[in-house]
Symmetry: D2
Subunit: 319 residues, 4 copies
C-alpha cells in the first residue's frame, strides 16, 4: 500500500479535524502518501482530491467543522455511482480509504468495499452517539458539553423566575444527548424517542415539584421525540404558567472539540491507518472498554445502538 | 437616612447580583442598614423583605440571575397598589429604594417616587440595551458575548456545509444585540426592528456572495423584527438551499457576567447609594462617556434609545 | 443499614459535588439517612457532621470545589486517631462511610475499615489520574479541558512571535495530564516523571522544527518532572531565543465540571450507596471499560497506576 | 492616496485581527489597495509585504494573535533604520501606514511620521491598558475576562481549603488588569505598581478576615509590582498558612477576542482609514466617552496613562 485517502461525509462533528490530522500525519510517518478528498462522496465524484502534507494539517485540531468540508450525496445509493467512485480512486492510485462520518456515510463505505473491493476503514463521527458497537463516536463529548453549558445558563435565569423552559436538542433516533445532558444538569424531565411521553403525568410531576418549593423547571427534549413547540403546547395549559423555548440547532455541532474528542479522534485516526496497513477492510474503528478496536462495518450497521436505560433511570432518580 | 432596600424586577440580566452586592456592601460601609426585597414589586407587596449583611452577598457576583429573584407585577400599574407599596416600605422603616431592572420596572420606580414620594434610584438592568440616556445597561455585554460564542460555533459547521443558518436573538424593540453580534461575527445579514427587511434583496445578496465563493451563510434576526421561522420560509425558496434554525432564547439572559458587566454593576450600585445619601431621588444611574452619572427617570422614560445606525452600516460594510 | 455519611478529603477535584449529590439523593431514595462530614477526616474528628437533605444538594452539581470542604489531616496516620474517628461515627449512628478523595484519603479509608471495621466505600477523586484500577478518576476530564484551553490560548500568541512557551501543569507522580494535554494541543514536547528528560536532545528537536518553519513552540511539563523555571533555564541558552513561563497552579482544580465528570461522579455516587447496601466494604468504585465496578481498596493502593506509554508515543508522532 | 499598508507590532493582543480585517476591507471598499506588512517593523525592513484582499481577512476576527505576526525591532530606535523603512514604503508605493501596537510601536510610528513624513495612523493594541488618551486599548477587555475566568476557578478550590492563593497577572507599569480583575472577583487584596505594598498590613488584613470567617484568600499581583513568589515569601510566615501560586503568563494575550474588543478594533480600523483619507497623520485612534476620535501621537506618548484610583478604592471597599 502506497497511497491512501481520507474524507469526511454527512453531518460534521467536532473532532473530525483531529481525526484527519492523525490519519495524515501517522500515514506519512508510516511511509504512505495521504490524499484528502473534499466534500465527501460528492467531492470524490468530482475528483476534488489533493495531496495532504504534515503541514497542511497543522493548527486544525482545535477547530470545529472539517477542513475537508462535507456534504450529503444522495446519488451514492446507486451502485453505478459507487462503481464510478471506485474507478476514480483507482485512477488516482488510492489503495485505501478512510471515511469519517455517521451511519449513512458508513453505509456508503461498506458498499464501496463489498461491491467494489475498495479497502475501506470507517471512523464513527456523529454527535448523536447512535452508532452501534462503539461506546462513543467522535463529537459526542463536545456536543454534550455544549448542551450542558447552554442548559446551565438557562438555570441561572430559571431560578430567578417562575417559568418552565423547554430545550430542544439533537438526536433524531437517539435520546443520548437529551438524557445525559438532562442528567448532569439536574433537568426536571427528559423527553426522548426511546420512551413514550405522557404529558398528563409529566405536567403533574412538574406541579408537584413546584409545590415542594422547586422553582427551576427545565425540560430537555430530543428532536426525534417532539419539537419544543409541541412540548410547550402540551404543558402550558396543564401547568398554568408560561414556558420559554430554546432550540440549540447546529450550535451543537460546532465549537472547539474537547480533550476527550481530540484524543478519541487521534487514536482512531492512527488505528485506521494501522488497520489498512494490516490489510483489514470493511471495518470501523470503535471504542470498547477504553480500547480502540476494529469491528466489521456490516455488523455495526445491522445493529441499532441502544440507549443505556440505566442513564434514564438515573436522571429520574437524582433530579 | 438610616435604612434602604434593594430589589430586582422584570426580566433578569447578568450582573444584577454584582449590583446587589455593591448596594449592600457600600450601603453598610456608609452606615446604612440595607434590606433585600424578594421577587420585585410582587415581593414588596407580600412584605417579602429581609435584612442583608456583608456576608449574605458573598460569592454572588459571578452568578447569573438574581439572588433576590424577580417577577413581573402587572398590578403595579394601579395607583392604589403603589400606595400600598409605599405604606409597606414606610412600615419597615425603609427610607430609600434601589430598583434594578428594565423599562417597565423603572416606570414603576418613577411613579413610586412621583406619587408616593418614596426616594428611589433606578439601575438599568436589561440585556436589550434599550434604555435611553445610558451607553450600556447591566447585562448587555454578557448577552453579546453569549450570542457571539453561539454564532461562532455555528460558523464552524456552516463552513463545512452549504446551508444558511438563521439565528434568532433577543431584542423586542431594539436591534442592538442582533446588529453588534452580527457585526463582530461577520454574519452575512442582520434583520432588526429598526430597518424594514426586503427578502428579495436579501436573497439576492446571499446568492451573489455564494457565487463569489463564500460558503458560510449566517443571518441574525432580532425577535422583534421577525421569527427565525418566518425568515427561513422567506429565504429558502428564493436561495434554493436549505436553512437551519437556532433560537437562543433565555440562554441569552444567563451565564456568569463578564468583567465589564460586573464592573458596570458595581460602579452603578455604589453610585445609587451615593445618590440616595446626597438626597437625590427619581433618578437612574447611567454610563455616559465612561463616567457614571445620574439622570432623571422621567427623562429616561420619555426618550426612546436609538440604535447607532453607524453600527448597522459597519456590519454591512465589513461582512 | 439506616444511616450513612459522606465526606471529601485531600485535594479537591471538580465533580466532587456531583458525587456528594448522588450519594445523598440516591441514599435518601434508598431509605437511608445521609449525613455530611465537613472538612474530611479533620472535620470528622471535630464532629463537624450534619444531616443532608434532597434540597441541601440542589444546584451544586455544576460547581467546582466541594460544598463539604476538605482538608489534609496528617494525624490520621496514627491508629489511635482512627479509633477515635470510628468511635465518633458510632456515636452518631453512622453505619457506612463514603470517602471521596485521592490516594492519601483512600489509605485512611482502608485503615478505618481494616482496623476499625467501619464499612467504607471510596470514590477516586483527583485530577492527577494516578489511582490504579480505574480508567479515570473524578476531576481528570475537567482538569484536562482546563489545561487544553490554557495551552490553546498560548498558541494564539505563540504563533505571532518567535518564542518558546513552557507550561507547568499538575502531576506529582503522574505525567497523564501533561501527556494528554500536550498530545491534543500538538505541543512540541512533553516532560513527565515517567520519562527522563535529555535537554540537549530536546533543544535540538526544537531547533530542527524551527528550521523546518514551525514557529510555535510549546513545552508542557508535569510539576513532578521539573519546574517550568528549570526547563526554561536548560533550554534558553541552547535554543538561543527567549522563553516565557506559565504556571497554571490550582486553576487546574477549579471550574465547573465537564459532562463527563458529572456523569462519572453521579454513577460512582450511586454505585457507592449500592455497594454499602449490598454489604460490601473496603472497596472503591472504579470505571473499567465503560462500566462502574467495585475493586478492593487494598489492591488499588498496592498498585501503581501506570501511564499508557502509547499516549506518549502518539504525542511524539503526531506533533 | 491609492495604496496603504497595515502592520502589527510589539506584543500581540486579542482583537488585532479584527482591526486588520477592518482596515483591509474598509480600505478596499474606499477604493484603496491595502498591503499587509509581516512581523512589524522587522518585516518592513525585510520587505515582507504582500497585497491583502477581502477574502484574505475572512474568518480571522475570532482568532487571537495576529495573522500578520509581530516582533520587536530594537534597531528601529536608530534614525537611519527608519529612513530605510520610509524608503521601502515609498518603493512599494505605500502612501499611508496603519500601525497596531503598544507604546513602543507607536513611538516608532511617531518618528516615522515626524522625520520621514510617512503618513501614519496608530491603533492602541495592548492588554495592559497603559496607553494615554484612550479609555481602552484593543485587547484589554479580552485579557480581563481571561484573568477573571482563571481567578474564578481558583475561588472554587480556594473555598474548599484553608490556603492563600497568589495570582500574578500582566501589567509592567500599570495595575489596571490586577485592580479590575481583583475588584470584579472580590479578591482579598491587589498589589499594583501604583501603590506601595506594606506586607505587614496586608498580612494583618488577611488574618482579620480569616478570623471573621472568610476562608477564601486570593491576592492578585501585577508583575510590575512584585512576583508571585516574592509576595508568597512575604506573606507565608506572617499569616501562618500555606500559599499557592499561579502565573498566568502569555495566556493573558490569547483567546478569541470578546465582543467588546472585536467591536472596538473594527471601529478603530475604519477610523484609521478615514483619517488617512482625510489627510490626517501622526495620530492615534482613541476611544473617548464611547466615541472613536483621533488624537495626536506625540501628545499620547508624552502623557502617562493614570490608573483611576476610584477603582482601587472600590476594590478595597467591596471585597
Amino acid at each position: 500500500m502506497k497511497r491512501i485517502a481520507v474524507m469526511t461525509s454527512g453531518g460534521d462533528s467536532p473532532g473530525m479535524n483531529a481525526a484527519i490530522r492523525a490519519v495524515v500525519r501517522y500515514g506519512i510517518k508510516s511511509g504512505l502518501e495521504v490524499y484528502g478528498i473534499k466534500r465527501g462522496y460528492a467531492g470524490l465524484l468530482d475528483e476534488d482530491i489533493e495531496p495532504m502534507t504534515f503541514a497542511s494539517v497543522g493548527g486544525i485540531m482545535e477547530k470545529g467543522g472539517t477542513i475537508l468540508r462535507t456534504s450529503r450525496c444522495p446519488e451514492f445509493v446507486r451502485k453505478e455511482t459507487r462503481a464510478e467512485a471506485a474507478k476514480i480512486l483507482k485512477k488516482h492510485g488510492i489503495e485505501g480509504l478512510v471515511v469519517i462520518g455517521g451511519e449513512g456515510s458508513l453505509h456508503g463505505a461498506m458498499f464501496l468495499e463489498e461491491e467494489q473491493k475498495v479497502p475501506v476503514v470507517g471512523l464513527p463521527g456523529t454527535i448523536d452517539n447512535d452508532i452501534a458497537m462503539t461506546d462513543m463516536s467522535i463529537g459526542v463529548d463536545t456536543c454534550l458539553n455544549t448542551v450542558v453549558d447552554a442548559i446551565q445558563k438557562l438555570k441561572d435565569t430559571a431560578s430567578s423566575h417562575e417559568r418552565a423552559f423547554i430545550v430542544e436538542v439533537m438526536g433524531r433516533s437517539s435520546g443520548y444527548i437529551a438524557t445525559v445532558s438532562g442528567l448532569v444538569t439536574g433537568a426536571e424531565a427528559v423527553i426522548i424517542p426511546e420512551v413514550p411521553v405522557n404529558y398528563e403525568e409529566l405536567a403533574n410531576k412538574l406541579l408537584e415539584e413546584r409545590e415542594r418549593g422547586k422553582i427551576n423547571c427545565i425540560v430537555v427534549v430530543a428532536e426525534g421525540a417532539a419539537s419544543a413547540y409541541t412540548v410547550a403546547r402540551h404543558l402550558e395549559h396543564r401547568i398554568g404558567y408560561e414556558t420559554r423555548i430554546t432550540i440549540l440547532g447546529h450550535i451543537q455541532r460546532g465549537g472547539s472539540p474537547t480533550a476527550f474528542d481530540r484524543l478519541l479522534a487521534s487514536r482512531m485516526g492512527v488505528a485506521a491507518v494501522d488497520a489498512l496497513l494490516r490489510g483489514e477492510s470493511g471495518v470501523m474503528t470503535a471504542l470498547q472498554g477504553g480500547k480502540i478496536v476494529t469491528v466489521k462495518l456490516d455488523e455495526v450497521l445491522k445493529e441499532k445502538k441502544r440507549l443505556d436505560m440505566e442513564l434514564v433511570k438515573l436522571a429520574g432518580m437524582l433530579s
